[in-house]
């Protein structure tokens, strides 16, 4: 069984994001970039399945600028066997990403495609579902547990009401939630080894997909700031303030 895992390069989750002064986007120059956190869970799960002897190959694919190669390289360092980088500049919307992934799926013929449930930059939460639609494959979104049962997967999904379990036939798409597993850190020897693993480079245009945005980003602004609050010195004062000043209890 072959597993394709899609990974995205995003601003590191610990960075305080700042809006550009000209309101065209957020500041990315000299900002630490990392793998989108739930994509780390997706890679981890694929590698675990391979280690359990249930998969033969894990391929990491990223779509984005040249530097997204680092993100692919990181996936290789934690156990993916080879990588694919599809180069595309500027904002590539989830619809275009899913069309590019569809082309990669047609070429690589994986049995499973994993990715994070949402990217923490655009917060769209679309790509996995869109890819499933384009391929007409089953989708298991927000997965917090995956069990492989012959040609099926049993997946536990985190939904608003609690947990849901579904059974899907392979080939299938799974989008991973943060509680699916604990992503490992890459060891130094594995980082060195990853440098020798192959990364195939393609251009989005070679795949015949139009990646021009359909959505115009008119402006990006700072959200309204909250007024600074006060510190209270005791619980009694807090309750009095809530009762008499804020009038919420």
């Amino acid at each position: 069984m072959k597993i394709l895992v899609a990974v995205k390069r995003v601003i590191d989750y610990n960075v305080q994001v700042r809006v550009k002064e000209d309101n065209t986007g957020v500041v990315t120059d000299n900002v630490k970039m990392s793998t989108n956190p739930p994509d780390d869970n997706a890679i981890e799960e694929a590698v675990k399945i391979k280690e359990a002897g249930k998969a033969t190959e894990v391929i990491a694919v990223s779509i984005g600028e040249e530097k997204a190669q680092e993100t692919v390289r990181k996936a290789l360092a934690v156990g993916a066997d080879r990588g694919i980088l599809v180069k595309a500049d500027g904002i590539v919307e989830p619809l275009a990403v899913s069309k590019l992934l569809q082309k990669i799926v047609e070429k690589e013929k994986p049995d499973l495609v994993f990715m994070g449930k949402q990217a923490i930059d655009d917060d769209c939460n679309q790509t996995g579902q869109m890819l499933s639609a384009l391929l007409n494959w089953p989708q298991a979104t927000f997965a917090s547990k995956i069990e492989i049962k012959d040609k099926k997967l049993e997946v536990t999904r985190e939904i608003d009401e609690g947990l849901e379990t579904i059974e899907i036939n392979i080939p299938a798409i799974v989008t991973c939630d943060l509680r699916l597993n604990e992503p490992r850190y890459a060891s130094l020897p594995n980082i060195m080894k990853a440098k020798k693993k192959p990364i195939e480079q393609l251009n989005a245009s070679d795949l015949g997909v139009d990646t021009s945005p359909r959505i115009e980003q008119i402006k990006v602004e700072e959200p309204p700031k909250r007024k600074a609050g006060i510190k209270v010195s005791s619980v009694a004062e807090l309750v009095q303030k809530l009762k008499n000043e804020a009038k919420v209890i």
Binding site: S98, C124, Q129, R214, I218, E222, A228, G229, K231
Partner: protein, 317 residues
Amino acid sequence: MSVLLIAEHNNKEIKPFTLNAVTAASQIDTDVHAIVIGQNCDGAAKALSELPLVKKVIHVEAAYYENFVAENFAPVIVKLADNYSHIVCSANTFGKNLMPRIAAALDTSQISDIIKVISSDTFLRPIYAGNAFATVKSNDTKKCVTIRPTSFDPCESSGGSAPIEKAEPGEEFGNTKFVKREEIKSDRPELGTARVVISGGRGMQSGDNFKLITTIADKLNAAIGASRAAVDAGYISNDHQVGQTGKVVVPDLYIAVGISGAIQHLAGMKESKIIVAINKDGEAPIFSVADYGLEADLFEALPQFLEELNKLNTIQK
């Protein structure tokens, strides 16, 4: 053209956030049609027809719609899409799972999680966990939009009498089977709509200690929330998680206990009207968004808090 609103329901009744989604839909275009797909969901269809903002209800029934499998739902919407300029749904796990499947089939670039309708093609949406707001304009002829329910008021729920039309079900998608749903039942107000929310974080130290929060929640008729750290540590189940990848809440009063205030958590609660933070680390980022901060050990502060609440003659419910 008209807006097609996909109703979220449990076959018997519509989910409360459907009312918020209807409000958003009506701000895009006043000709709002609502579709209910399910099994034995007459009750939900009737409830939708009573919403004054809804002009028509489309009711689709089949046994395989009972559990809201997106692979079954999407083709039904795609088939009807010709008649609509916009397809709208709440951005909760139901809508997040379903809408992109529709959008891709229609070759439309979806706009997720809008918090404001600026015009029929332009919307405001948070990005980077709410650290920036983007104004975006869709150039697709058909628009698929999910809305953040807490950013819109619920619509009027009675007085309407929209006609209910039956539509043909689509084919069943054979490769996905629903197995089970484990819903956590509670007598408390729902987290997404509660007037008061009290949340615990890693500082709670154990699931047992959440009892301190529960007793106060009982007193205030509050919903119970949690940070991702508390859920990851197994103190409380995932349906309580507030944040970028959990639920977004906008209560009148949000009490954060033992929560440091990671960006991801703030994304889910910083629009609350009044925020209280109780934390023993005076430098915790949660204090930067709190209206009232109490630097204290929560294990001392929470019992005192309950005691002070007990002293009050009246508590707003």
